[in-house]
């Protein structure tokens, strides 16, 4: 659908509102925690990956995280909270509204720009990455969930570690 049609269609502006709401809830589950809520944003079978844009462009699937089920996401949330050693930090996502590329019976395909900042225990805030969410969102009984969330990051020289999901 072109953008003129989209803005004139009340149903699509409703979809836009729901997608933007989903993204906001999603980032706050990471920024404000607890991280146990994060896997709930995904369908049981899903793909979550954080991948460098240059890998995507070269056709390589290697990500810094790559999970294929909500169970794998729960494992990550557990390990991050109980079985990892890292300096405490605060994460802050700054989002754009989502660009809906395709809305059909299979779900919603959307792109969302995101800047993610990280604050150290000493209080220094630095850019962690700029990235784009490339999402496939499905309606599961009235609730939107991510069937796929690909966090494609530009900042291919990552500053230090990626502790939390993005």
């Amino acid at each position: 659908m072109d953008s003129a049609e989209k803005s004139a269609n009340p149903a699509s502006s409703d979809v836009q509102r729901r997608v933007d709401g989903l993204q906001l809830q999603y980032i706050h589950s990471i920024d404000d925690g607890p991280l146990d809520h994060w896997p709930g944003f995904f369908t049981d079978q899903c793909l979550y990956t954080i991948i460098a844009r240059d890998n995507v462009e070269r056709g390589q699937d290697l990500g810094v995280m790559r999970f294929e089920s909500a169970a794998m996401l729960r494992d990550r949330a557990t390990a991050t909270q109980h079985a990892a050693v890292f300096a405490p930090r605060t994460i802050r996502h700054i989002l754009s509204t989502s660009l809906l590329d395709r809305v059909d019976a299979n779900g919603i395909h959307a792109r969302t720009n995101v800047a993610i900042y990280q604050t150290s225990p000493d209080g220094d805030t630095n850019l962690l990455v700029t990235a784009q969410y490339r999402d496939w969102i499905v309606d599961t009984g009235g609730e939107l969930k991510f069937r796929e969330k690909r966090v494609v990051y530009d900042t291919f020289r990552l500053p230090d570690s990626v502790v939390y999901p993005l």
């Binding site: 990500g63 079985a83 500053p159």
Partner: protein
């Protein structure tokens, strides 16, 4: 290449020798901070008689393909030449010193041209020509006696072995086989066995600590069953697994290895909590290895002096290359690979198991964090402050266990030697 070669036999004066009177079991914390030590390392190690990792042949499959990387702080290009061989040349124009290629990867056709004044070179670095060499209508241009042959790009000595490319700025490095030695060659060719390689993808991260701390971490099996709570809590690593660590004759290279499923069933874990029963992965596919090597080794980490790490942890195969960025920072480039004949299942296993490794890895995330804690901790330490390395004794020998810092002690035998510092007695 100028006057940058070190002279291995030249030692530093005693009053500026940070290792004067220091035993094998101590490391002066100054060497992780001092700009003078760092500058000497660049000359004596990175531009000295060492072999430095450049990349995998599979990264530049076609004629004219290049990849840009670093040796020390000097940028080099790995370029695929006509006829199939690969050359390594410095990415610095002989005219005014400009960087020639800006992209990380690309294809440059049949020659290299500097964007600033279009001086053009072949893939061995030979200067082919420049605009207005003869001037315009007899005015300007280069003098008649300008020697084209004397203005090539710096071309490095290059070794290609089973798909891996190494280079040296030094005009007369040892042969690569001698540099590695038999034991290290055995483990190198375990992974790089001659089968064509397939790239799986890259990760890069900047870690704010001295490059040597990164290398030490891969020579320090002592931390593995302690720091890495993921492995410990979920029961994937125990120091009582069958294991070994090896050093080569020069002491600069090393291998550490374990075999999974070889625990002897005793509970002597040296006081470290292991395998918390509350932790089990709800999705086990992440840690299901596929056997792919003839032996039972599930983890083999090889370090080659100065800055290459070759990782074979179950099915994640990767080179980790350390690029120094001043005394207090380095970049870590992870190149994950498999083999050209991998089936889809193996590729999936490699992608999945990569969750253990890299900038967000269940295991290596802890490493990057601990390394920054190290640098933070040693900053501003007293002039004579040292690190202590007495786990496993004082020597630098191979062992049939991992409760030892002998590989780190070995690294400093090699380091003190090449740096011209007082040798370990």
């Amino acid at each position: 290449m100028g006057s940058s070669q070190s002279n291995d036999s030249e030692t530093v004066a005693r009053d500026s020798d940070v290792f004067a009177g220091i035993p094998s079991t101590r490391i002066p914390l100054k060497i992780y901070q001092e700009p003078d030590v760092y500058a000497a390392e660049l000359q004596r190690i990175f531009y000295g008689p060492t072999w430095n990792y450049v990349g995998l042949e599979a990264e530049v499959p076609n004629e004219g393909d290049f990849r840009r990387t670093f040796i020390g702080e000097r940028e080099v290009l790995m370029v695929r030449k006509a006829g199939g061989s690969v050359s390594v040349i410095e990415n610095r124009c002989a005219h005014r010193g400009s960087q020639i290629c800006q992209a990380q990867f690309g294809n440059t056709g049949s020659s290299l041209t500097c964007p600033y004044h279009q001086w053009t070179y072949d893939f061995d670095g030979k200067l082919l020509g420049m605009p207005y060499r003869r001037g315009i209508k007899g005015k300007g241009g280069m003098p008649a006696d300008f020697d084209m042959a004397a203005h090539s790009l710096t071309s490095l000595r290059t070794t290609l072995l089973n798909g891996v490319i190494f280079a040296s700025f030094h005009p007369d490095p040892p042969s690569f086989a001698d540099y590695l030695g038999d034991k290290m060659m055995h483990y190198f060719t375990r992974v790089f066995d001659g089968r064509p390689l397939r790239l799986v993808g890259y990760q890069r991260q900047v870690i704010d600590c001295n490059w040597k701390l990164q290398m030490e971490n891969l020579k320090d099996p002592y931390h593995a069953g302690i720091l890495h709570l993921f492995l410990v809590s979920f029961g994937y690593f125990r120091l009582d697994q069958k294991s070994a660590c090896y050093v080569d004759d020069s002491k600069g290279h090393s291998v550490l290895m374990t075999e999974r499923g070889s625990e002897e069933g005793n509970e002597d874990t040296g006081g470290v909590n292991i395998a918390d029963p509350d932790f089990t992965l709800s999705d086990q596919t992440l840690v299901q290895p596929r056997k792919e090597f003839p032996d039972d080794v599930t983890l083999a980490i090889q370090t080659l002096f100065p800055t290459l790490i070759i990782q074979a942890q179950t099915n994640t195969l990767a080179t980790r290359y350390v690029i120094p960025k001043g005394p207090r920072s380095h970049e870590l480039v992870w190149t994950f690979f498999g083999y050209e004949d991998d089936d889809e299942g193996m590729t999936t296993a490699r992608l999945r198991q990569a969750n253990l490794m890299g900038a967000a890895g269940y295991v290596t995330l802890d490493d990057a964090e601990a390394l920054e804690f190290s640098q933070q901790g040693l900053e501003g330490a007293a002039e004579d402050a040292t690190a202590v390395l007495e786990i496993g004794g004082k020597g630098a020998e191979s062992n049939d266990h991992l409760v030892t810092e002998s590989l780190i002690r070995g690294f400093y035998i090699r380091y003190r030697d090449i740096m011209g510092f007082e040798r370990v007695t």
